[in-house]
């Protein structure tokens, strides 16, 4: 590919999705953005407030076709439900979580009234449809400046918690949605890495110091990115380590998805505990959900916008929310409330017949149910990170990004709890970049201009099944078999990369493989991963099939068996793994796609 003229990023989040792009100059390897800030969309159909993301939600008609996206989908669904025409329509949000449901402990997506999408088969077409809509919006915006589609390099963000199969699936979905299949033209950026890239170019606020102080975001050599989004909270630990040339490289040293910790779950707590109590119990809430979903949506939107703005005062017992949160009650909700509920609203200090008051204590309880778990996850990751640190290493830094990190209460609670810990935990710095909600999106644009050289530790041992000569006294006797005069061992694990190996971007491993059976037209390689560092057999504890590679032997069939050698090269260290096979004898390049398919 010639050097791109435009790079465009899509941050496809569980809760919200946005895109941004910039024109670039220079040659491959030294691309630079033409302007300091990227171009982005801040207005979305169905939403009045400018924001860099639309909801990751769709509305499907009776035929299962997507008829609306984002805020528009939510509003249209509420309108249909209110008018009694909602039967057969499905509103789905947070479906991205279903692409790796096991990472989120089997939880459904958050969102009041959202349909449960909990399988890859259900989620995949929605992901394709959503990506198509967002990429077409971005493409239209870019091509109106007379750029060609072929001049755009795309970058799609993916959670750090995803493994190769999910990344492959995302690439497939992206290609189906009209994005390039070519790896040079579609980069996958890990969300926390994109956030870290953004933070290195922007000012950030140091939590716990003078509120107006702004500091250049020096992340130091060890930092942890806590991406507190709408649907999930993902926590990833990084180290900056020198490579063999002395260049500093990003090394991912730990990651976790906190699961049920996103901002939407705070909304659910509010809905269940505060709204139910205030408006007259769960039965009435159900009635409102049926008869006035639009009004309920308005009320939840008001809470959503007010909750992160709660101001905090520090006391000897920790941070407390300073004042009540006032929420105006939409007229249509008010009309459905019994007199007793309306009178109760008005009887509250500061309340009125049209206004609900959420006391500071209630707000804190709602927050604490979710925030305490976020902080616990962060402390666990920090403790692991500090355990790997050397005595001379400076204290770690937490980089808080995502919409929920705009919450003063979250930041103050985290600072308070860290301050109560002994060193080195207590010395941890907390940084929040300007505009944390767009840190991943804007960081992904920069990432695509100049993809950082990345290293990570192999999370598993990777390899494939093979049948080497049997080793008496070492191999289990039951695995012994003889083929073509050679006594071999069944189901051995051929290690390509051992767990914990440092993988730099583009890290390649090449192994020679020969077929065992003379009459086979093709050679099937079955790839496995194992949680063990040196697994001997592919059926050992925790080993899983991750893909197969079928190579047609073609002209090599004319050769003796031992000369039908195939060189298999796996490229690791990028956001996914790719494979190429070469027949050494004939020089024929046997290309295939390594499909990461899991037994489930």
């Amino acid at each position: 590919m010639t050097a791109p003229k435009v790079v465009a990023a899509i941050d496809f989040g569980t809760y919200g999705t946005g895109y941004a792009w910039t024109e670039v100059e220079g040659e491959e390897g030294s691309l630079r953005a033409h302007r300091s800030e990227p171009i982005y969309r801040d207005r979305w159909p169905g939403s009045d407030s400018p924001y860099p993301k639309d909801l990751s939600a769709v509305l499907l008609n009776q035929g299962g076709q997507v008829i609306a996206w984002g805020h528009q989908a939510k509003r249209e669904w509420a309108r249909l439900s209110q008018d009694g025409g909602g039967a057969g329509y499905t509103y789905a949000a947070g479906f991205k979580m279903a692409l790796k449901a096991d990472a989120y402990h089997g939880l459904g997506a958050p969102g009041t009234g959202s349909a449960r999408i909990d399988s890859v088969a259900q989620a995949y077409p929605l992901v394709v449809s959503y990506l198509r809509r967002v990429s077409e919006m971005a493409r239209q915006e870019i091509t109106e400046s007379s750029y060609l589609d072929s001049q755009i390099r795309w970058c799609l963000t993916v959670p750090a918690i995803w493994d190769e199969p999910e990344k492959q699936l995302m690439r497939k979905a992206a290609a189906e949605a009209g994005l390039p299949a070519d790896r040079d033209r579609l980069l996958l950026a890990l969300e926390p890495e994109a956030a870290a890239v953004y933070c290195r170019h922007h000012l950030a606020r140091l939590v716990g110091s003078d509120a107006s102080e702004r500091d250049h975001a020096e992340l130091g050599t060890r930092f942890l990115v806590a991406d507190c989004g709408g649907g999930t909270v993902d926590i990833t630990a990084f180290q900056l380590v020198p490579d063999s040339y002395g260049e500093l490289r990003l090394l991912e040293s730990g990651k976790v998805s906190g699961g049920k910790l996103g901002s939407e779950y705070i909304n659910e707590e509010f809905f269940r505990h505060v709204l139910a109590a205030r408006l007259g119990g769960p039965e009435l809430l159900e009635r409102l959900r049926r008869e006035s979903p639009y009004g309920l949506l308005e009320l939840m939107d008001r809470w959503e916008s007010a909750k992160v703005t709660a101001q905090v005062t520090l006391t000897s017992n920790g941070p407390v929310i300073e004042r009540p949160i006032y929420l105006s009650v939409p007229g249509e909700i008010h009309d459905l409330l019994p007199d007793s509920a309306v009178s109760a609203l008005a009887a509250q200090p500061g309340g009125s017949r049209h206004r609900m008051v959420v006391t500071p204590q209630e707000a804190a309880q709602v927050f604490d149910r979710v925030i305490d778990s976020i902080i616990e996850e962060i402390l666990t990751q920090l403790t692991d990170m500090n355990a790997q640190a050397r005595p001379q290493d400076p204290p770690a830094t937490i980089l808080l990004v995502g919409g929920l990190s705009g919450s003063e209460y979250l930041r103050a609670r985290l600072r308070y709890i860290l301050d109560a810990q002994p060193a080195p935990l207590g010395l941890t710095r907390i940084l929040v970049p300007a505009n944390p909600a767009a840190a991943v999106l804007f960081g992904a644009v920069r990432y695509a201009c100049d993809p950082p050289v990345r290293s990570r530790l192999a999370p598993y041992t990777y390899g494939c099944k093979f049948f080497p000569p049997f080793e008496p006294g070492i191999d289990e006797p039951g695995r012994r078999f003889t083929e073509d005069g050679v006594t071999r061992c069944r189901n051995r694990f051929k290690i390509f990369v051992a767990k914990g190996t440092k993988l730099e971007a583009g890290h390649q491993v090449t192994e020679g493989m020969t077929p065992v059976y003379a009459d086979r037209q093709q050679m099937e390689l079955i790839f496995y991963r194992s949680p063990e560092r040196e697994p001997r057999y592919i059926d050992g504890p925790g080993a899983q099939v991750i893909g197969t590679l079928t190579i047609a032997l073609g002209a090599a069939l004319q050769l003796p068996l031992a000369e039908r050698e195939v060189q298999v090269q796996l490229s690791f260290g990028d956001t996914d793994i790719s494979a190429v096979a070469v027949n050494l004898r004939t020089g024929e390049r046997l290309e295939t796609v390594l499909r990461f398919t899991r037994p489930d």
Binding site: E23, D42, D48, S49, S146, S212, I325, S352, A434
Partner: protein, 236 residues
């Protein structure tokens, strides 16, 4: 001694060699010309690509300045708008409720007076002391320390907005007596959106003519206007 005819053969070979050398020289010359032409064409193509790229970049710049596109520098206003929304919907309401207004109308007028004191250009120019005095003169009693606190918050918001370098305005321009335009106005709680605008409770936050936070209005029967600069008499 050479064999008969060998001299002729040698001469023929030499002649053939000379012809071939000439042909090769000619071919090499042509090849050079072709290479030169390709180089020139590639150079011209590069120039054209650069020209097209700069044209596209100029087009993008024009679209940015005409508001067809949004530059990342405008993202700051999302955060500033959030703080402004908190000030007008939470803090000023909290202050108004502390004054224990007798009814919703009085509460709305109190909030409107505060918003005016914090965001009307005349009031900003006069400073917090005059603004507080002016509020007192119109019957809006605010404890000095609490007023100073919201003044500081408003000042920080205004300062951050100005520091962006964009044209930021706090607009109090809803037409009283006309129905609200819901693209520009948020209607206060308990108010009917179909009724005419009676009072501007808080100004809109507008950046380069794009609304970031809508004007908050009270609808219903006409109410006395509250936004005036210090020393001015209330508008009728």
């Amino acid at each position: 001694m050479a064999e008969p005819g060998s001299a002729d053969l040698t001469a023929a070979i030499e002649q053939f060699r000379a012809t071939m050398t000439k042909s090769l020289d000619s071919l090499v010359g042509t090849l050079h010309q072709v290479e030169q032409a390709i180089g020139e064409l590639a150079g011209r193509q590069r120039e054209q690509e650069q020209w097209l790229t700069s044209l596209s970049q100029r087009l993008t710049a024009e679209r940015l300045s005409s508001d067809a596109l949004t530059g990342g520098e405008y993202l700051q206003h999302v955060e500033i708008g959030g703080r402004y929304r908190r000030l007008i919907t939470q803090r000023l309401l909290d202050l108004a409720l502390a004054a224990d207004p007798p009814d919703a109308g009085a509460e709305a007028r109190y909030r409107a007076s505060l918003a005016c004191a914090l965001f009307a250009p005349e009031s900003i120019a006069a400073g917090p002391v005059r603004a507080l005095e002016s509020l007192g003169q119109t019957g809006v009693a605010v404890p000095a320390d609490r007023f100073q606190s919201v003044w500081n918050e408003a000042e920080e918001i205004r300062h951050d907005a100005e520091a962006t370098g964009h044209r930021c305005q706090w607009r109090f321009d809803a037409e009283l007596g006309a129905p609200p335009d819901l693209a520009w106005h948020d209607v206060c709680e308990g108010c009917a959106p179909g009724d005419p605008v009676a009072l501007i409770i808080a100004p809109a936050y507008v950046v380069d003519d794009k609304v970031q936070v809508k004007q908050l209005v009270l609808t219903g029967p006409a109410a006395p206007a509250t936004c005036q600069g210090p020393g001015e008499s209330p508008r009728e």
